[in-house]
Symmetry: D4
Subunit: 248 residues, 8 copies
């Protein structure tokens, strides 16, 4: 934010080299950014502890490594999502302390280990194929300073596995639920807990699953009132929203 | 079925007025219906106890009453689905023993009270708004000679209500599950029982429920392998399929 | 919750009329509800201050009034959504202290005035036609014990109106954004605030708006990471989720 | 299922070191799994003869082989669906008695040769391209202990081929029908038989076939009342449902 | 077609009052219709016997009657589709010889009784609800000078009814097939005959029939190669195309 | 636009009662609107001659009349779209000089008769049913100060009618084309003219027209490169865009 | 067709070893195929000159060659559609007289050169990318004994190219029109000719062309009444239908 | 345009070797193109400065090079869109002065540097992934003789970046806006400027973005009235339309 030109105006008025009327007129013609736009950033303070994020898909290993290394010059955590082993090797060369979270397909540099979240976040997933999305949510929430616990492979066709873990769920302040196919799990979980549930449809399934549409529609129509939904396979978004909630 | 012309052919051969070769040639040119088409009806024997069915929607009270009274001249049960109170009043005039099942919107005449089904059929529904479809399934199965038990308002967001009734479900030989919105109930029920589950998506819901599409897709993608699906709001079809299974 | 039969088992063991082994076996065959199912309700404590809710659409005035009056016998708030003036008149007869919130189409009985929310919730809407959905969210959040502020008619085609109210937005702990047509407002608001945004697509629009699908897709694909989405026109759901978040 | 902690409670009450009231209270706080959850498994008895199932798609040959060999340590049949020749070679190394069913793309280990089904199951398919799905259904039903007969390439545009085989169809207790393109075959077959028909839309076709959607919609709207439907290409599900029906 | 102005040009050149160069220039600026546009109308001769057509839907009885009476001043047949009894009464006043075809919802004035078609056209329909569309096709073909035969209520779930009438079908030069729900009938008929089949999806059905989309997709994907398709409920179009074919 | 508070700041600095640094700090906390936001309005000057617009649909006659009369207090044109005869009668009472354009369903008050457009705008429509949308575009363009010419009922199945009017089209500076059903007209017109074509899909048609989707898709895929598209039935939008272009 | 068992019946009756009544009864239980099913084949006579057809897609070169060579043992033409150069090389080895039609991706063996069609068929296409589909239609019609003429690259955005070739179009007895993108060409052609038009949507286009859906919908909604439609990219079907029409 | 044959007719009439009547008759049978079709080409004059355009996708490097070199024999600019580096190398061989615009994937030959546009065109894009489409629009507009300025990476979730550049936007005569995901940017830009906005949905996004459908619907429903839309990823079309507008 650059307010030098504004400051200069006030100084000129102070020094008497510019009348107040002239100053107002000049202010009116300043480029927008010089006006400071301060109000919009009221919330920036909340952003402490937010990691820098890189979307790895479609970038070459060199591109990811370059951006990663550049961000690493400043403090804070770094998260590269949808990355490959090759991209990680390139990053590793430049930022030796970076790590690869295989399941979540994420390259991370974790430096800020402060807990910003006020309680545990639970990440639940229906089938083993949903784990990559769930892990993306998990690592996002972890890098944003949360205790995260996972509960995988508890699909609704074997409801007892979910019920057997109710106690763990009951401790969470926010729950993320990832499911493909019919996307029914968030409704069941939503009925079991009294906290916000972030539902993530996954593209897992075949035939009439339509790359996640069936799960998306299922979640939009959840009969549990505490469920809201993010985009198909958007583990990152779910982890981000859950982290914001958990900081409140 | 008319096989007079065939019989005539054989008689002519028997009497020697037609050679076998000529007879085969003539047979080849008989209209199809005269061939009898017997094989196709092998299964008709299974149809004992099947009710006559009238689809009431779009018919006037007089039309429904006329068809109903006509069918009532023969034995067996009669089922008119998607009917109104007005239609029933017209039927009642002509067939005083007919009854109206308000919840299932069905006019019935129950005369054959034999049990064709070999065990109980359970009809499960998610919300109170799904009951009309569930009752259509129930009355269909009942008129086809089954013991039917219902378990309503056990949607997945309150899973304990369903679990509290597992014992009842466990006795059923076939289970019909009706659900709108996200259509998740068949998956959960499918995981709890070891028998075939007939899923009926209902048009209940709003917004992204799309008149039952969300529920239909959810059920098609059920992670429970014992689930098959009929058309949206097709309670009759579900009751029919379940009855066929229960006779085996 | 009925645990009498369990208690009885323990007493019999205590009195020596039943061996521990026999007791375990009997326990195994008790109906599910007798097992108590206590774990599942751990979160019920969080539900203090939750209003009883009636979905008014499709019910007769008498039905709404009957249910409303029945719930009114117990303490706490009552909220009937998607109601009409006629339904309110019927409720008013039986529950004179009830009020009608015309814009939000809701009948309310507000008795518990405790603040459960820890900060203000902002409800933002794009056009005047979106107000009924926005008000449904607002009245839901209000009855769940929140301070709610609204900011209406700030659609993205007149971005200065939204920006002029940034200060108000910046104070909110949770923001609900209702928009039809292209559904772009949550993305813009999401970029302006650092708190969770609950997006509600509305069915407002014509032609390629497809009864809210365009807005729904727009919100699912929001480029702002702090946005999650509820069903089309689901003001109640948005108010409910926001209230849960605001209690944390 | 672990009920040790419950057993311990009863013993303590028996020994008088715990009062019945205290025992009930402790029971209430036991983790869910310790409560035994016996009721839910009432139906497990029905599962005798069910094969263990592996979904091969997306797994490496080594992964499939490892899981397969592990399951092979216990008795019963094993079925790996959607597998490749390569995956089979890997399995063969570890489980020499396994076989590859090329048409159905399935690796099987058949040890339990008991007949659980009470009559023949017929698998019908419309075109030669539908055979892989039909064979997946066939091998599933076979491994679940059924006599299965197939009737392939009897699409509705050459209705005489189907009619010429009516006699075979008429013997089946359950019929599975696989069809792509317009998906009309289940309706025709449904009209010819008096038993339940499980319809499987396949993704065969091009243009407006939309990867099986046209066939799926056709089957959902079947004018034959004895048809229910499973997911696109879900031969396994059809075989599974048919087997459950055939055991009744 | 008016070519007076062109003729005038040539005369002026002939008389020497205009040079050839000037004539070309003037020709270039003549309004298009004066250029004759003869080539485009080569086919008009084929149109003998075509009825004048009025689309009745959305017009008042007076409007329909006015247009009808106006067309009646010239010779030839007149066909008003999608009309009501009320519209007919208004037409009757002005054109006493007009008739109302109730089943086909068409007002007709039949004056040209010449046979333009060279053989019979068959109109086949699946269910009784498809009859209005089938009759619209029938009356269209009739007014265009064809012998038309109908074969109704021969849906694919009762294939023997269709087969019993094969002989009748075999005589047709063109076949029109109307079907809703799964739209399977054209495929079966297409396989039975060796002539062109015009398929008309109808909007009959419910749930996943989607107002005719299921039937439309089924017909587009017909496995019979002699099938082409017109718009949903477009009985008129089918009758028109069939008549054109039958004149060849 | 209120910049009093800014002016006050400069005066205080000028008078020495506030240091420049303090002034910058205070500026940073001023509500957004006080910052002037002048830059955003650079284009307002272009808006001279723009009518005030009311969307009539869903408003009572009294509401429309009230808003209309209120706007009429200021100068300039007023346009109320999607209005009824009843709404017009109410407006007429309060604003006697208002007129009703029946075909375009618009109430107008035309006071500013200056020509802002630099050439004629042509409005073309395919069928008579498309005229209401075409007329909405026409009256919008007229009220924004354009010469508008229309060319109706020139659908592509009778291409000679369109070609016969090429000369008129060739004079237009912008062309608006309204078409339902297959929406092919903009492509043909686009190939005939060398100026921008604004295409408006209409909801005219039935069956697979899907309320304008077929036309919309057709226009999006136009093989003519000078075509851009507005929403289904959005005559107003087309008139507005065309007017903006014609002012350039 | 096997009628031995029927013949045997007649002989036994003739010899007196079976009574006519017994013979009828036995006939009733004969397998269907033995009944001869003669009537259904009434139309086979029409099939003279029909080529044998192989769908090449998804088959190996060896498979195509094997089937091709096998069919070549009998007389008549052979057509393999959707084939590659590689497949042709394999066929060429076994059937040296076969030819490859590169543009239509078809391998053909043309032996029956009789003209079955009674006039020319015209194949029209919109863009150069539509030519493969158009050529598939052309080669199909050619092999079925028709004179075929093509008219390519006459898309509606350059309508004069189409009009300049009206004379050629006017001679055709049937017209096939292939178009992708907005699919408008069949409507325009339909308006220019008085004969049946078979429309083929192609999958050419991008974005909102949706692999041919836009073109398909456009053609279904054609404002020309002489248009019927086949599946996306189904050049073969169009050629087949056109040939059937042209034989009449 | 060839009018030789017409001229010849007039000369013969002038010389008296042909009577006016005979001349009219001959004219009637002239091929269409000989009639001149002058009216249709009135607008061709506007096309000065239009580049020749090649669609590179799906063509081999040699094909592109051949066409490019051929067009280069005449004057004017040449634009090959959707090209690759390989295609450029082939073109470079034959047309050494050609250039490759990497970001816009376009091969260009710029010879006509005249400014046909009357003011600047602004090209705005939401995210970095939208740049290829934006650059295609940019290079198209540039080759058609416009000053083009770009403003990239100003997505709506960071609205201040857009606002900071309002001044630049305000100078544009036409604005092109490219956006994927929710496609909200055109609405915001539309509200900030008073000139026509051409919106280009891009296929950027994942999950419920559906390859650009979400963005397309968002733009069709834009609440800003000055927005019209072209096909998904159609940067060329947007540049073309904007250039036509800018020439007016």
């Amino acid at each position: 934010m650059n307010s030098d030109s504004i400051r200069k105006l006030f100084r000129q008025v102070h020094q008497g080299t510019l009348s107040p009327e002239e100053a107002v007129e000049r202010l009116r013609h300043l480029p927008f950014e010089d006006l400071g736009f301060a109000k919009v950033d009221h919330h920036r303070a909340l952003r402490n502890g937010m990691p820098e994020v890189i979307f790895g898909k479609g970038k070459t290993p060199d591109q990811v490594a370059g951006i990663f290394a550049n961000l690493a010059k400043h403090g804070g955590n770094i998260l590269a999502t949808r990355t490959t082993e090759d991209q990680f090797q390139a990053v590793k060369q430049l930022v030796p302390r970076s790590e690869y979270r295989v399941l979540g397909r994420a390259i991370v540099l974790k430096r800020d280990r402060k807990k910003y979240g006020k309680g545990p976040i639970a990440v639940v997933s229906a089938g083993t194929s949903d784990i990559p999305v769930a892990e993306e949510a998990l690592v996002t929430a972890e890098l944003m300073g949360n205790d995260v616990q996972h509960l995988y492979d508890v699909g609704v066709a074997g409801i007892h596995r979910l019920l057997a873990n109710c106690a763990a769920l009951a401790k969470a302040r926010v729950v993320i639920v990832c499911a493909g196919m019919e996307g029914a799990l968030p409704s069941v979980v939503g009925g079991l807990v009294g906290v916000p549930v972030i539902a993530v449809p996954t593209s897992i399934g075949y035939g009439a699953a339509f790359e996640g549409i069936a799960a998306l529609l299922g979640m939009m129509n959840s009969c549990a009132s505490n469920v809201s939904v993010v985009n198909i396979d958007n583990g990152f978004g779910a982890g981000y929203v859950a982290s914001l909630i958990n900081r409140l």
